[in-house]
């Protein structure tokens, strides 16, 4: 994947960002080819969520560049990045809790595509189809997450950023969501998976980076590292900067 003619769907060049005066992500560079998938691991507070927010524009990079599909979007607003093909499922739940399931799906849908979107969502997650009129905030955590993840299908994105979609869910629900994501990946959508369940994240991804305190501690192919190496990178006992290009 090192050849220059690979189409990069997402690229970060030396991105630094944070909240106000507090820098969280420091000088981070990585690339994601079209249809590729990347697992982003690391202890809490490492800057994974900040990294995703900087990609989607909810946070503006204080320095560096963000490119989506070759287009520099560093100064673009979030809704413009969404139009450029980016889809970000945030954590906690990316839904509007006070709206019904149907209303959530209407908002997720492209203009005029509401009924098609509802059909697609019901096909992917039958459980949602049965609950269209329910207020989203009153559903169980797993169902809320399904609703949030449905957006990655409805919006027809080129790249999907997933922030801890398995958080707090029972294993059978996590299974259901990850099966869906694997199918999505097979259709050629690129994924960035921020995940606490390392095995699941590795199984879904081609490559992996471990972030700690805002910088990349470890990176390479997903099948390259064992559990121990990744845990060491978490706990800070790994050799710094052991890396290959992603």
């Amino acid at each position: 994947m090192s050849s220059a003619d690979v189409r990069l769907i997402l690229e970060l060049r030396g991105v630094t960002s944070g909240y106000g005066e507090k820098t969280v992500v420091r000088n981070l560079s990585l690339t994601l080819p079209a249809g590729g998938s990347l697992a982003v691991l690391g202890p809490n507070g490492a800057g994974k969520t900040t990294f995703l927010k900087t990609c989607s524009g909810l946070l503006k990079a204080t320095s560096g560049q963000v490119l989506i599909d070759g287009q520099d979007v560093t100064r673009k607003s979030t809704h413009d990045r969404v139009k450029a093909g980016l889809c970000h499922i945030p954590d906690p739940r990316g839904i509007f809790p006070s709206l019904t399931v149907k209303e959530n799906l209407i908002l997720q849908a492209p203009r005029g595509g509401a009924s098609a979107a509802i059909e697609k969502a019901a096909a992917a997650f039958p459980r949602l189809g049965q609950r269209l009129t329910q207020t989203a905030g009153t559903m169980s955590g797993g169902e809320q997450q399904m609703l949030a993840v449905a957006r990655s299908y409805i919006q027809n994105p080129k790249v999907v950023l997933l922030d801890e979609v398995s958080m707090g869910l029972a294993p059978n629900l996590v299974d259901e969501i990850f099966t869906f994501l694997a199918t999505l990946k097979d259709t050629g959508v690129a994924l960035i998976v921020v995940e606490q369940f390392v095995h699941r994240a590795l199984a879904l991804s081609d490559s992996v980076v471990v972030i700690a305190r805002g910088t990349i501690r470890l990176s390479g192919r997903s099948d390259e590292f064992g559990e121990d190496e990744i845990f060491d990178a978490y706990a800070g006992t790994a050799p710094q900067g052991a890396s290959a290009h992603v």
């Binding site: 820098t23 809704h79 969404v82 006070s98 908002l107 957006r151």
Partner: protein
Amino acid sequence: MDVWLPFIVVGITAGAVYGLAGVGLVLTYRTSGVFNFAHGALATAGAYLFFELWVKNDVPWFLAAVISVLIVGVLFGFVLERVARRLAKAAPSVIVVATVGLLLIIQGITSKRYGAETITIDSFLPTETFEVSVNVGYNQLIIVLVGIVIAVGLGLLLSRTRIGIAMRGVVDDSDLMELTGLDGAAVRRLAWMIGGSVAVISGILLAPIVGLDPIRLTYLVVQAFGAAAIGRFRSLPWTFVGGLIIGVVAAIGQKLESEHTSLAGLPSSVPFFALFGVLLLVGKRGLPTAAPVRRQQPEHFAPLPLPIRAGAGIALGVVVIFLPNLVDARLAVYTSACGLAIMFLSLSLLVKMSAQVSLCHAAFVAVGAVAFSRLSTEANLPWFLALLGAGLITVPLGLIVALPAVRLAGIYLALATFAFGLLMENLIYRKSFMFPQGGTRDAPRPDIPGVGLANDKQYFYVAVAILAAVIVLVLILQRSRLGRLLRALADSPLALSTYGTGTTTTLMLLFAISAFFAGIAGGVIAVGNGAAGPGGLGSLQSLLWVAVIAITGMNLVRSSILAALALVVLPSYLADLDADYQAIGFGVLAILASLITASGFDPVTWIKDNLAGSSRVGTKGPIPQRGADAGWRRASSSRKAPAPAREEAPELAMSGGDR
């Protein structure tokens, strides 16, 4: 039953308008987080424009209404969204000041152009009646129908259309709205335009009923507040129903009022009961949560060198001593400025020192004035004792207002205190123990031993002396333990209570002290005016005061004196400047001041960083900037050994990261 029906018809008609106004208010509040105190002023502006077009320029009424809605509703909505965007994360007092600024501008312009008197305008709707066991006017029917149609239409818009759903969703999560590919700002802009338009429609509908009057129409916002409170600042249908309830209850109250004089003022107090009651009963947990707040940093000017300060003090003293000879006939203006300065000091304790909001300070002053008058004329207390008593009698009022301050925060506290002020004005002021029939009470001057009653000049010196005493007390308070607790409370109530301070007590003490000084101010002002009267102590006056104090800086004493001078002395020198221009000026300044505050721009820091490079003010040592971490930690952390010299620090410095 037949006796009641006509009142109920009137109530439903008015209630439909209140409900509409409330719906517009809630729509904008829920989508932007900015509570618009100028919502009624928008209605005023729209109604006057309608009057201008229809009555003065013979534009057909329907066309006039459409033009008014488009110009005032849509245009203002567009502008307001841009302002609101900058205010969304500002402190509630900043939001109050900005929207009150707009209110002052609209009120100033309309009363300048059309005068302060009520203009009666004919109903543009047919006034013939039909009978359903009671006479109902077609205009009444149409107003109610318009109200219902708009409320239902908005309901459908919000439940059925994508953009309407987005308006409801943007409240949950503005970031997520962006992630779904919708422009959050565009969604909010539309909400402001709709909210503004609905306000204008309610103003136009109300104008033939109550007449055109800059004050009275602005008060429509109060009915809207009440309706919004019944809808818990959340639900549009319940807000509309709330408007109807307020309209009907007020109309029934009107009938009762005409039969029982003891109920005077009750009907106009209904919305305030609703507002105050709902706020207190529901508490902050049951209301939509406010956005996190960024607080304005107070100035930290280094004191000037002692000789300069002493010189300035002496010069000021000399000026004050000779002032009566310099200003001749204007002396009375300076005397009342002294009283106002005391009031501003009392207000600053709340607004500036402790980051609380009080929009009922005029009520404190009014109670102080009456208490002073009755203590000196009826109880025959010596003058100074009566003044002290006026302060003490106002203290319980302060404690009552402290209750919402304990239970509520932010904009809801502002609303609760505003409602309290209105309640006082409408229900209590006209009681026989306050100002019977809106009349005044005597406020005698002090007896100077050996001279007799003080003349103008002597009373001026008395007022200055009292002001000086209050300043000294405020300075002592600022440096005392309670002062530190209050400043800490303003920054982080959470930290303060975690470290062991009972913040309820602190708030109670604060409001008690503030009310005490406001009561004293009431006495001093009343004596200056020669009588204690309700004039100039309405609830809108409290709003003006908060707006004025916001634009004169952060230093308690200096800003209070400046505010008093700007409010009464300055206009007396500008012969052309009438009250309307003054209001417009304050309004513009208030909006600018709040935008600057909300932007996080700190002029003092800016001056320090950019202009005063060599002469660092505020701190003796260098001010460590964020990001420049080198040298902040020392080698040893033993309690016994004093810290090593600064030069050693860099060796053990922690780097600030990859900055």
